[in-house]
Amino acid sequence: MQTVKMVITGPFSAGKTEFIQSVSEIDVVTTERKISSDAERVKNETTVAMDFGRITVDDDLVLYLFGTPGQRRFDFMWEILSEGMLGFIVLVDSVRPETFREAKHILEVFRGYATTTPYVVAANKQDLPDAWTPEDIRIALKIEKEIKVLACVATDKETVKTVLLELLYSILENMQTDE
């Protein structure tokens, strides 16, 4: 049996766990923990090691979705999670510009691990009124025009599917240009 993996990364509270939960056929195996420090108390739980979701294709092929922990102190996990990934998705919290710099940092670190691995950026929480548009986020994060920046609502399965599909299309294109 072959397993392939994609990594969902992004800053603290960007919606990574929610994203994986929306499409995973199993309950996301998440290693969440109650949040202790006040600074990070925008929600009650955070992912401390990783999230883990699964989509079975057939008897021979399974896709695993790995979500990285959002807090910097767990970034030693990032490189391990990135090994052998088919592609990755950087989730951006569109309503919190204070996390954009961190999102860019994470993006660069992952690009450093895997310089030729395709990726897309997902501007998450587009359902909220204060959300920055994907076009503005592209400029704010200085994303080159070759990279897709997609609107996303992690709680809405259809937009999550679109993001995954767009990544897969980028992966296909990348394979064609490689040959």
């Binding site: 072959q2 052998g84 510009p97 204070e98 450093g112 920055w132 503005d136 704010a140 992966i171 394979m175």
Partner: protein
């Protein structure tokens, strides 16, 4: 959709760069604990600026920039009986109190003073209102943001802002973008930096070649970067080593033929469509 935040997280330089690149129209309000400023844009150009501490009408602009005295302003207001900048401007010129060039220069200087000051703010909530037009009756003057960003960045005084954008100068090099340099006002220092740009020269080397200290080079590079004139690249010879696949899945994937790999991706696409 909104464009909302605080200058602590997204600086004036970055904001103006965004307005410039996205050719935005609307009003940008910035409010610090002590003062508020409003900038009005049309298709990515700055057309009007005001603060909440004074009425930014034409006579105020001209008094502030030394083109008109208070007494002259009061007299002309009485005479014209209007509050429209256009009407007052015409009266001022007819009375030969100021020339057309004085008005252009005065308005421009007034606007630039407000916007340059914004570059030194550390804190301030901002909000961009796409539906807002410049206040009626007020004079507008389209200014290209490239030069505003370049000059404004030169006024940044805090090293830490610059450090965030350009962390390690010895591991990044520069590339000149294809944006035309014509019409952009570059200083001699800017040119000195540009003349040393090469894929093998890290920014640190460029600084050393020019005898510039870290703060100087950071300011120059930051301004040119935000104005879209240069881009950051990895210096040649510092390419990251390509890691060999280590996991079992990765080894297996690496041994697959291109056709097999493509077939895996196509299967994934079909499966996800069916979710």
């Amino acid at each position: 959709m909104a464009l909302k935040g605080n200058l602590r997280d997204f600086s004036t330089t970055q904001l103006l760069n965004l307005v410039n690149l996205a050719r935005k129209t609307g009003k940008l309000s910035v409010n610090s604990p002590t003062i508020g400023a409003s900038l009005y844009f049309k298709e990515g150009r700055l057309v009007h600026a005001s603060t909440n501490t004074e009425d930014g009408n034409l006579t105020v602009m001209l008094i502030k920039t030394g083109k008109l005295t208070k007494e002259q302003a009061v007299a002309i207001s009485k005479k014209s009986g209007s509050t429209s900048d256009n009407v007052i401007g015409k009266y001022l010129m007819d009375a030969k109190l100021v020339s057309r060039e004085d008005i252009v220069q005065g308005v421009k200087d007034y606007m630039l003073e407000i916007v340059y000051d914004l570059f030194t703010w550390h804190d301030g909530d901002f909000f961009f209102d796409q539906d807002s037009e410049s206040p009626s009756g007020r004079i507008t003057m389209p200014l290209n943001l490239d030069n505003v960003i370049l000059e404004g960045s030169r006024r940044i005084q805090e090293l830490d802002k610059l450090q965030d954008e350009l962390p390690d100068l010895s591991t990044i090099a520069l590339k000149i973008t294809d944006k035309p340099l014509r019409g952009v006002k570059l200083t001699q220092d800017d040119w000195r930096v540009i003349s040393h740009i090469h894929p093998r020269n890290s920014i640190k080397q460029i600084a050393q070649n020019n005898n510039m200290d870290e703060f100087q080079i950071r300011k120059i590079v930051y301004g040119m970067m935000q104005a879209g004139l240069v881009e950051i690249i990895r210096p040649e010879g510092l390419e990251p080593k390509k890691k060999k696949p280590v996991t079992r899945a990765a080894r297996k994937a690496a041994s697959q033929s291109p056709a097999e790999k493509r077939s895996v991706v196509t299967k994934l696409i079909d499966r996800i469509k069916r979710i």
